[in-house]
Symmetry: C2
Subunit: 624 residues, 2 copies
């Protein structure tokens, strides 16, 4: 096949770039609204159902308990019973310890493990999560509230402020879910969370180290250290060998029992070993009347509520999603937020502080395990609180430290460094910010850097020169494919990002510079002079008015240099706007091609024709 024939056939093969069928403005607005806020299409199941069925589905949607309870079996119950008791044995000592971390009375940890799990059991859609207090949320609340009220000087006000902050956290969480703004949580990246958790864990460990070291001095150090060591090793092993989960799950409770017995029999509390002391028997007292809505405390409560709420959500939803992924069911992030928000609102009325969904990895089958756990905590509150009288605080510290060490996920940090340096920077900024400044500052820095990365991606998009891959009509970036061959007389550029105001100026200058560089390279090598600039727009997802102006300017710049601008494969959004702004007409429809191959074919054909006209010979151009 002669090259002229070939090019003529290329000319014939030309495919049209289409402007997508016009859509009424409100229709397209509706679609993009739906994709933004209802990407999971939660109302899919309601379609084409009779209205009685719809009401039933709606109740089941908001209260999944009506979905799984009727199908509940005895086998499920056996699994949930064991799981629930296991969780309770972990949640009770941890709850007491974390309440201390938030500078709150230890009994609050138990209260918070009683009411919120009941709410979540009704409203939550995850089968694997338990509800309880968490270290990072407790730490955050403690540090933010202590800035305003000293918990030792005014413990009553501090306590009431904690309830109020919990209320606002709940309202904020439920509102995010209700207004489908769950996507805000998406902006806390995995890297941010790894760094943030690690930093918080380091801070807590350093704090607790003081009280642990303080105690070694007074009592039978070896015993405590051996308890600690066993706790540490067990926790560590449990990460690798889930078979020993029971051992590690029981470790905190065992430490508490052993520690309490030790103190009880040695009367170490009289020799300076601090113990928990009296815990009030009885269930959660109401706390509605204790909420503080007066200035200046309300500002603190709102601020703390928002920060603690969003962090708790991020933690809870990340865990929930990974389980759902693993066990192949769907959870609706926004609905989970409503569930968690409700449980914190109710919690703030019943003497609880912030709780979230956590993974105890205890083999739950349904949310019923939360009910079992809740009953276990209830029994503890009613009958077993005296048992904690002699529990030494140092055991609580050891429990906290052992839980915290698991949060310092250095392996994840190494993984980030290997794969994506920028993610590593985000992670380390969060870590350093939390450790050296404060929890809030660490969070703000990490989120700011993450968002900055997204903005930088848009502000400085990558542009590539494309070359032809031998024996094909494929054109690819010469940086990735060093063997891709340059086409004489034609500069092919690819833009990899939407063209927005933030990059329009940069792109104009970068494209001009590509042309400059190409022309000076050609001058040096004496190749065919540049005639065409082809811009592959496949990767340009969208364009705004600044972007259109940029294209107009590039067109002027190329015209001034006697170059022809050619566009390839503008996507639907771009094509719509090129059409509306008349750029399509200014450029000429014949200069918009569907593929680079067709565009190059047409340019080569023209180059050839022109040269034929000039000197009636056809040599030196055998590239396609």
């Amino acid at each position: 096949m002669g090259s002229v024939d070939h090019h003529q056939s290329v000319q014939q093969q030309r495919h049209q770039v289409e402007v997508p069928p016009p859509q009424p403005f409100f229709n397209s607005l509706k679609i993009s609204f739906k994709e933004t806020f209802f990407p999971d299409d939660p109302f899919r199941q309601f379609k084409n159902k009779p209205s009685s069925k719809k009401i039933m589905l709606a109740i089941q949607y908001f209260f999944p308990i009506f979905q799984w309870a009727p199908k509940y079996t005895f086998n499920f119950f056996k699994a949930d019973l064991i799981a629930g008791i296991t969780i309770a044995s972990l949640a009770i000592p941890q709850g007491i310890s974390y309440a201390k971390l938030a500078n709150l009375p230890p009994i609050l940890g138990l209260y918070s493990s009683f009411i919120p799990p009941l709410i979540y059991a009704m409203m939550g859609s995850s089968r694997d999560l338990a509800v309880g207090t968490v270290a990072v949320g407790s730490l955050l609340m403690g540090s933010m509230l202590s800035d305003v009220v000293n918990p030792n000087e005014d413990p009553r006000l501090y306590l009431h402020l904690a309830f109020t902050a919990t209320l606002f956290a709940g309202i904020f969480e439920a509102a995010l879910g209700f207004f489908r703004l769950g996507l805000i949580v998406d902006f806390l990246s995995h890297a941010t969370i790894v760094g943030f958790m690690g930093g918080a864990a380091t801070v807590v460990c350093l704090q607790q180290l003081k009280s642990i070291l303080g105690l070694v001095h007074f009592t039978h150090g070896a015993d405590i250290i051996s308890v600690m060591r066993s706790v540490f090793t067990q926790t560590h092993e449990s990460k690798k060998r889930p078979r020993f989960f029971w051992v590690s799950a029981m470790a905190p409770l065992t430490s508490v029992i052993l520690g309490s017995l030790l103190v009880y029999f040695t009367h170490a509390e009289r020799h300076g070993v601090e113990v928990i002391g009296e815990l009030k028997k009885g269930l959660n007292p109401p706390s509605v009347s204790k909420l503080v809505f007066v200035s200046p405390y309300i500002t603190t409560a709102v601020k703390t509520g928002i920060v603690v709420g969003i962090i708790s959500l991020a933690e809870g939803i990340a865990v929930g999603r990974s389980f759902a992924m693993y066990k192949n069911y769907n959870i609706d992030g926004n609905k989970e937020m409503i569930a968690m928000g409700t449980m914190n609102i109710v919690g703030s009325f019943t003497s609880c502080y912030i709780t979230t969904a956590v993974n105890y990895n205890a083999g739950c089958k349904t949310a019923a395990s939360n009910i079992i756990m809740s009953i276990a905590v209830m029994l503890t509150l009613l009958f077993l609180t005296p048992l904690f009288h002699y529990t030494p605080l140092v055991v609580l510290s050891a429990i906290i430290v052992s839980a915290m060490l698991g949060l310092i996920d250095y392996e994840a940090a190494i993984h980030l460094w290997k794969i994506d340096k920028f993610d590593f920077v985000v992670c380390m900024s969060a870590y350093i910010g939390v450790v050296f400044a404060s929890v809030e500052i660490g969070l703000v820095i990490a989120v700011a850097i993450s968002v900055l990365r997204v903005l930088l991606f848009i502000a400085r998009p990558r542009t590539f020169v494309l070359g032809n891959i031998a024996n094909s009509g494929i054109y690819r970036n010469v940086e990735q494919y060093p063997n891709a061959k340059h086409v004489p007389g034609i500069l092919i550029l690819e833009i990899d990002a939407p063209i927005y105001f933030a990059n329009a100026g940069y792109l104009r200058e970068r494209i001009t510079r590509w042309v400059d560089e190409e022309e000076s390279r050609i001058k040096a090598t004496g190749e065919t002079s540049l005639q065409y600039v082809i811009m592959d727009m496949s990767g340009v997802g969208n364009i705004d008015t600044s972007g259109i102006s940029m294209l107009e300017e590039v067109k002027k710049i190329t015209e001034r240099r006697e170059l022809q601008l050619v566009l390839v494969n503008p996507g639907s959004e771009v094509m719509k706007k090129l059409n509306k702004s008349k750029f399509q007409n200014h450029l000429g429809e014949r200069w918009i091609y569907l593929t680079v191959e067709e565009a190059v074919g047409a340019c080569n054909f023209n180059l050839h024709e022109r040269r034929n006209l000039k000197n009636d010979e056809s040599e030196g151009w055998n590239n396609v």
Copy 2:
């Protein structure tokens, strides 16, 4: 050609997707740093030059006057002389008017048109810009400073605060330029500026209307109104017919002269017409000692400086760039910022307030026109200030209003509505924010919405189903190309944005939903069951660790449904990370193809083989 043969040839044609050649970490860091902060490669000209030449080039780089002065000709001078005088005749009345807008003594407008243009003439790289005070900058400074100090009650402190704010504006501008952070200005989109300017102009017009209407009552209303009307019409016409530029350029000065004469002869000032009054003769007094660095004023000065500085930069650089575009020369945004910063720093030492580069469209040839203008202002300061004694304030108001009306660019707003609704929303938010709240709030809202759009683009990227365009190996989005044909048994998806933490969760669920929808569609129509999910990654410019996890999860999801995941054309960044994270190995290299055509060919080949094995017949699949 039989279909089997055809598919075998497709199998043979397979091209490899390459991992880009590895680059040392610091090398790639250096490259991306350079692209981010030095995209215009300002040091290009220094390469391979002897060091004496380098010093000369560096001086010329920072002081372009050494570049153009030696080549200056008499012809240039003639053009610049006329341009300079024209600008002066505009700048003098406008300067006086704008100083009033900033609640500053009128003489400051003259001072500010004397020193800063001299600095800019030496350091600026634009040939077309003049330097002077601007309405929006004056308004902003006036409104922000008046919040803290009442200019009528404490005019001295207010004045000194204005100098201090100007100093900080200058420092901020120069620092932005020096640290190559000019890209911050890129985030003020054209739409933001249109809305912002329009809003500011509306506010100013409403303010001035009061004083104009107040006066009509006292004096020969018809005369003033006719002056105003002529000013209006001339300004308006000048936009369309630059031939009448001279008329409109002279209008403000003519109004001032006519107005002053009128007052002088009718002694209207004794009947309640406010006039400028005494203007001190003489050049700028030094103001270094007047700068205020004490709390709480310094906070206001810094804040005002930053806001006013960035707005002035955005205005100046936008004008400079559009001229450079139009006349085909380059200006270096960051260097311009250093020039404007320096001119404001020096200005703050010599009784000037904020200035920026403005376009008077007066036919300047070089920056020498700024020197001419500066000399004209100097002569005015030395000898002509008494002439302004009788200038009625209402004329100044008329000048301001006429300049302001030109800033309300409703045509641009209509253009935005037509092409890009979102840009229109940004523009209107800026407008409404400025008019109904405050200048700062309008600015913050508009920038926030613009940035939100960029973030939403990333958080909710579009995904498309691709189909085959008849008689070709081209696969395109079926939404844009309704005739593109679906390939039986294969779902082809395209992702149009980088895969980042902010969209990883969304994409996982969206892809799962595409698969669900496809499977239920197939169930309904009884087509070939789904076997392959091809993901075209051409538009995915980058991926982070969350994105990689997302791909791992999608792989698991497809495997669980017995579907094979196939990737097509991952770009260099993506390929690098797929390789580092071992995803490439997990998926199997044979499931990564260079083009959709090759991937579909291979899938069809396998589908065929499988079916042949099953029932030894080859019917019903004739798509490629």
